[in-house]
């Protein structure tokens, strides 16, 4: 059976070049980077190189990169850190209704401890309105956090414009770039952002390693307390193999950014064209203009059927996708993102996310459409609601 992985937004396979770079840091260069002898210094050297590679990908300075255990930690750190460091100025944070749970749940946690949080609405394609952001800023606002690319529907926010509004009001700006990194150009200086969160495993690097970019001159407290690692900002013995892997993945992402994005975009368009030509009664969730969307992302609602059933039958055919449906195995809530985009619940329940990436081929797309067509037809045969009055 053919295996086709179409969930690159969930995670990516680690590239061979990256693995090759990591292995020595698990074997001969195993030393603790804080140690002052040979193996320790070798490990330290690896960290320095990787920090530069990650900095280069986002046009930052090496000293502005702080490695964390994942993107979620970077999100938690910046939200809690700014709330703490600027508590004298105010307690108000602005974010959006479509953020990752790493942001939303951190904000909800802070609300229990006295913070005030504004969750901005988005339009039907998932875009935040700059005017809404401006109107929400108050004297007590300490931070604006808006993700660069949404993980479910792929909406690319106008971060430069949004960051400029925050800056004009003297408010710090954070963007979670976990889905954006390596898929669209990110230049922290040009964007005018103060913090960004990143993760290695979405750019063909290993899991368990992320980073926070913190613009020089802004001070926030440590999130993990202990030793003097990461310029005393993030304690704990460094995951040297992970960091080196992140560095190599960042270097490759930087070298191949446009080629990667063009490859993804081409296959994504092909997938959409074939699905929309061959399967009736579907709708695209998120931006219709593909230039304003993650280059590999499609989020499609299939009428009269439920997302998890599609996922399971595709899985039986070797195809991996994800769903925003209520009936996913972990939760009974419909996707908060699709809700915020005003996707009706019966359509949200039939939503499937496809994300293509570097190892996806033209043949994979043909195979997926062939199988998807069968799967959706089978489930519609089984469904009592096909053509039901009042469905639309």
């Amino acid at each position: 059976m053919r295996n086709v992985y179409l969930d690159y937004s969930a995670t990516t396979p680690v590239k061979e070049e990256v693995v090759k770079e990591m292995i020595p840091f698990l074997t001969e260069k195993f030393g603790n980077p804080s140690s002052l002898y040979g193996p320790g210094l070798e490990a330290k050297e690896g960290l320095t190189k990787a920090r530069q590679q990650v900095a280069d990908l986002i046009n930052a300075e090496e000293r502005e990169i702080f490695f964390t255990s994942c993107g979620t930690e970077a999100d938690n750190w910046v939200i809690e850190g700014v709330a703490d460091a600027f508590s004298k100025k105010g307690n108000h944070i602005i974010t959006t209704k479509i953020e990752h749970h790493a942001i939303l749940h951190t904000c909800q946690y802070l609300e229990k401890h006295g913070a005030e949080v504004t969750y901005l609405d988005v339009d039907e394609e998932g875009f935040v309105s700059p005017a809404d952001l401006e109107a929400a800023i108050k004297d007590t606002t300490v931070l604006v956090s808006i993700m660069m690319i949404n993980n479910e529907v792929g909406t690319i926010q106008p971060i430069k414009e949004l960051a400029a509004i925050a800056k004009a009001h003297g408010v710090l700006f954070h963007t979670d770039t976990v889905q954006a990194l390596g898929n669209v150009p990110i230049d922290v200086k040009d964007l005018g952002v103060d913090f960004i969160s990143m993760s290695a495993h979405k750019i063909y690097g290993p899991k368990g390693i992320g980073a926070l970019y913190k613009r020089s001159g802004i001070n926030i407290p440590s999130f993990v307390h202990g030793g003097a690692q990461e310029r005393r900002k993030r304690a704990g013995t460094e995951n040297s193999a992970g960091i080196v892997g992140f560095g190599k993945a960042a270097e490759l992402a930087n070298e191949h950014l446009y080629e990667h994005a063009a490859h993804s975009d081409g296959l994504r368009r092909k997938l959409w064209e074939k699905i929309s030509a061959e399967i009736p009664d579907i709708s695209l969730n998120g931006p219709k203009d593909f230039t304003k969307r993650h280059p590999g992302n499609l989020n499609i609602s299939f009428d009269y059927v439920e997302g998890e059933s599609i996922l399971l039958l595709l899985d039986a055919n070797g195809i991996s996708v994800s769903t925003g449906s209520a009936c996913s195995s972990e939760s009974l809530d419909t996707s908060h993102v699709l809700n915020a985009l005003n996707v009706p619940p019966e359509k949200a329940n039939g939503a499937v996310r496809f994300t293509v990436g570097d190892f996806t081929t033209e043949e994979d797309i043909d195979y997926v459409v062939e199988k998807l067509k069968e799967v959706v037809a089978k489930l519609r045969e089984l469904s009592p609601v096909s053509g039901m009055e009042g469905w639309k």
Binding site: Y304, V305, E306, G307, E308, S309, L312, L313, A316, S325, A326, C327, S329, E330, S331, L332, T334, P344, P345, E346, N349, E381, L382, S383, P384, V385, W391
Partner: protein, 151 residues
């Protein structure tokens, strides 16, 4: 590795009793697409109150479809009184278990079957102990936004 056990997967991949009986003796619907799952059951019943045929159509996740398949298998050949005793718990047992969060999916089949029997009883002026005081509900959304979740 699979999300569900082999019995559930088998009933999901190759469900039994799919379809709709023409001019059925009883028809029941439960759930809605807004809720995430919906089942329609049609049954035929003979003069001795034995369910001779049962078919279903279900909108829902893997466990909703598997529960529908298993539940219709179970009630075929049962008397109405026996079928009214088929609880979601029994359906889950026959399936060899469902993930905790999916238990509510089996409730769908129990209710849809009950609604089909109610329809049969109404049409034929019959009454059954298991239906005493039963008011069929087709749409759990009617009184509560979102899915009705029973553990």
């Amino acid at each position: 590795m699979a999300l569900y056990n082999d019995t559930v997967m088998e009933h999901f991949m190759n469900p039994h009793n799919v379809g709709e009986i023409e001019n059925p003796d009883g028809k029941g619907i439960y759930g809605s697409p807004v809720c995430g799952d919906m089942m329609m059951v049609t049954i035929n019943v003979d003069d001795n109150d034995v369910i001779t045929d049962a078919k279903f159509k279900t909108y829902g996740c893997g466990s909703a479809i598997a529960s529908s398949s298993m539940a219709t298998d179970m009630i075929k050949g049962m008397t109405i009184d026996e079928a009214l005793e088929v609880s979601n718990k029994k359906i889950v047992e026959e399936l060899g278990g469902l993930p905790a969060i999916k238990i509510h999916c089996s409730v769908l089949a129990e209710h849809a079957i009950k609604n089909a029997i109610y329809d049969y009883a109404e049409k034929n002026g019959k009454s059954y102990k298991g239906l005493e005081g039963y008011v069929p509900e087709t749409d759990p959304d009617a009184h509560e936004h979102g899915c009705q979740v029973e553990e």
